[in-house]
């Protein structure tokens, strides 16, 4: 034990002006992101997300190159002759031409990685606070419970935008450079706004859903199972009911990722008839589902965090 004299020498009083609780939310978000970035497994998933981005980035370039540069009918691809029309047919399905569906498809595919990242993030960012009793640490400070939720949602939102919005913006810039940039950027400004809108829908819905499910199940494995249920099982079930059993297309609304996709395409102003697979529910029905999920999450968090604070 250090001597009393040392204690007196080493302890310093402190006085200062406190900042508002929103700064506390920012601090929580920053620390939560740091915790996420320390997980090696997540770096693997970030790498996968980067690969998907690179695929779209170079494929978009490839389509323009094929269209403009190739005069022959066939090219040799890994030693195998492939007709140019077959090659572009495959790439055309991904709509790699800087249009609405380019961004819709990119975010759709990026969503697979995103969902896994968020399933793992939930227990790190929120579940541990309940499991390790950290909640009293946060709630005993001069912040409200909504600042706590905001801090966690900000961290999750940052990852969503890092994986989705930022690369989508790069794709939009690339498309402008590949085509006629003087007209593309002005004519397709609505696409950029649509990307922001899609990202906002994803950020709000998924961050609330991550926090709510992590508060509910807390541990990583059950959390991954819940997310598998939400985004894999319900997706398969919805597809089977509509495509297999020819049920009403509204059964597809149980697939939350599809509902988010529809909301995103609404932001991107896509023609509903061009959405695959068909038939799809109406945009407003998808919006109702997404808003309903958000409200349910908020109500659950309000009730749950209050209850924990009382008993902890």
């Amino acid at each position: 034990m250090i001597s009393q004299t040392d204690n007196l020498l080493r302890y310093r009083p402190w006085r200062g002006t406190p900042r508002g609780p929103l700064f506390a939310s920012l601090a929580m978000a920053r620390v939560s992101m740091r915790l996420m970035l320390r997980r090696r497994l997540l770096w693997g998933l970030f790498g996968l997300a980067l690969l998907i981005f690179f695929f779209f980035f170079y494929a978009q370039y490839l389509v323009v190159w094929i269209t403009n540069q190739l005069s022959t009918e066939t090219v040799r691809f890994a030693g195998v002759p492939v007709t140019v029309s077959n090659l572009t047919k495959f790439l055309d399905r991904l709509a790699l031409n800087g249009t609405t569906h380019t961004f819709g498809n990119f975010i759709w595919f990026q969503g697979y990685v995103l969902v896994i990242v968020l399933a793992l993030a939930g227990s790190v960012l929120v579940g541990n606070d309940f499991f390790h009793g950290s909640l009293p640490f946060y709630l005993s400070k001069p912040i409200g419970r909504w600042h706590y939720i905001l801090g966690k949602c900000l961290a999750i939102g940052a990852f969503i935008n890092l994986l989705v919005t930022l690369p989508a913006i790069v794709l939009w810039i690339e498309a402008g450079l590949l085509y006629d940039w003087q007209t593309y950027y002005l004519d397709n400004l609505n696409l950029l706004l649509g990307v922001f809108g899609y990202a906002l829908v994803l950020t709000v819905t998924l961050s609330l859903l991550v926090v709510a499910t992590a508060v509910w199940v807390r541990r990583t494995v059950p959390l991954v199972m819940v997310w598998m249920g939400l985004f894999v099982f319900l997706r398969m079930l919805g597809g089977w009911l509509v495509d297999g059993l020819k049920y009403d297309e509204r059964w597809r609304l149980i697939d939350l990722w599809n509902s988010l996709y529809l909301c995103g395409l609404w932001c991107l102003q896509a023609d509903p008839e061009t959405i695959r697979p068909q038939p799809q529910p109406q945009y407003w029905q998808a919006w109702l589902v997404v808003i309903g999920v958000c409200v349910a999450c908020v109500l659950y968090l309000r009730r749950r965090i209050h209850a924990v604070e009382i008993v902890s």
């Binding site: 034990m1 250090i2 009393q4 204690n7 007196l8 080493r10 302890y11 310093r12 009083p13 402190w14 006085r15 200062g16 002006t17 406190p18 900042r19 508002g20 609780p21 700064f23 506390a24 601090a27 929580m28 620390v31 740091r34 915790l35 320390r38 790190v124 541990n128 606070d129 390790h132 009793g133 950290s134 009293p136 640490f137 946060y138 709630l139 005993s140 400070k141 001069p142 912040i143 409200g144 419970r145 909504w146 604070e309 009382i310 902890s312």
Partner: protein, 321 residues
């Protein structure tokens, strides 16, 4: 204290004043009609499990509001919504060390304490600087870059104390601070708490069921049971309050003397061997009776002194009632 400042202890005349404070959860009443005035200092909040200590601490921090009654802590009114500006202001003046682990796994010690500082409203750089200072003060200097989940039990408790101390609050609420510590760690923690109160002017409210912790650190004690305050005052006052206890030492064949004392209604609290006892005498007992019985039994009374209660006896008697 100005509304826009935190840190450094003010010296109010009263730490807290509670008037007829009651808190119910549904049909269960956790706190009954608590009326209490406490000056600044080191205060022990003693009580068995379910006494209402944690509920009282939460009310003092503005985390929950009383169902009825009113109170003030450091001249700030209690009550209202937990997320109100008034309660945030109150919590800026208080450093809380919870009983639960309350650590954030994955963070290093300095990150954990620095985060606490930012949550209290400190600017980032100030919080970091202060985290280093406080961890050094609490002897976690060497371990500050290790992750908190790797800490030993004693280090975890000190890290929790550090996060409560980071913004230099005038009041510390410590919930079972020695829980899970070995004797050496417990002594070290108690010395730290005492030094914070004595040398740095902190008011400390120590909630515990360990009587020895309160005896070692606190000047005053509040005993709670069943949601009510059963007794309060300085430790010496409370323990000296009973006048019916004596410590007696006799020389000679004392078996008969002891039997006579018992037959006269004297209660033997403890036989400490070799003719030395601690006794409680009945109402209307006069000390002359000791000497009369000694003469009858042919023993010599070598010592007869008033005997104070120990805190443990006081606690058991108070809570038992």
């Amino acid at each position: 204290m100005p509304a826009n400042e935190i840190g450094s202890p003010p010296q109010p005349g009263t730490l807290l004043e509670l008037h007829a404070l009651t808190r119910t959860f549904g049909t269960f009443t956790a706190l009954h009609d608590i009326t209490l005035t406490l000056p600044p200092g080191r205060i022990g909040l003693l009580g068995p499990n379910g006494a209402g200590k944690s509920t009282l601490l939460k009310i003092l921090m503005g985390l929950i509001s009383p169902s009825s009654g009113h109170g003030r802590v450091l001249d700030l009114n209690l009550g209202g919504d937990r997320d109100s500006e008034g309660n945030w202001r109150l919590r800026r003046l208080i450093g809380f060390m919870p009983e639960a682990d309350a650590l954030v796994p994955g963070l290093t010690g300095v990150e954990y304490v620095s985060l606490a500082g930012e949550l209290y409203g400190m600017p980032r750089r100030e919080a970091q600087r202060r985290a280093h200072e406080v961890l050094s003060y609490l002897e976690l200097e060497e371990a500050r870059y290790r992750r908190v989940e790797e800490y030993s039990a004693g280090m975890k408790q000190r890290a929790k104390l550090a996060q409560a101390l980071v913004h230099d609050p005038p009041v510390l609420l410590l919930d079972e601070p020695t829980s899970g510590l070995d004797p050496a760690g417990r002594d070290a923690m108690l010395r730290l708490i005492e030094a914070l109160g004595r040398d740095h002017g902190k008011s400390v409210i120590l909630s515990t069921h360990l009587l020895a912790d309160v005896e070692a650190v606190c000047e005053r004690v509040v005993i709670m049971a069943g949601g009510r305050v059963r007794g309060q005052g300085t430790v010496s006052e409370l323990c000296a309050r009973r006048q019916d206890r004596y410590r007696i030492r006799v020389q000679g064949e004392h078996a008969g003397f002891r039997d006579d004392l018992l037959s006269e209604g004297v209660h033997l609290i403890a036989d400490e061997g070799q003719g030395e006892w601690r006794v409680a005498v009945p109402r209307n007992w006069t000390n002359v009776a000791f000497f009369k019985l000694a003469a009858v039994n042919n023993v010599v009374i070598r010592a007869l002194v008033p005997d104070d209660e120990t805190l443990e006896e006081l606690f058991l008697r108070t809570v038992g009632n």
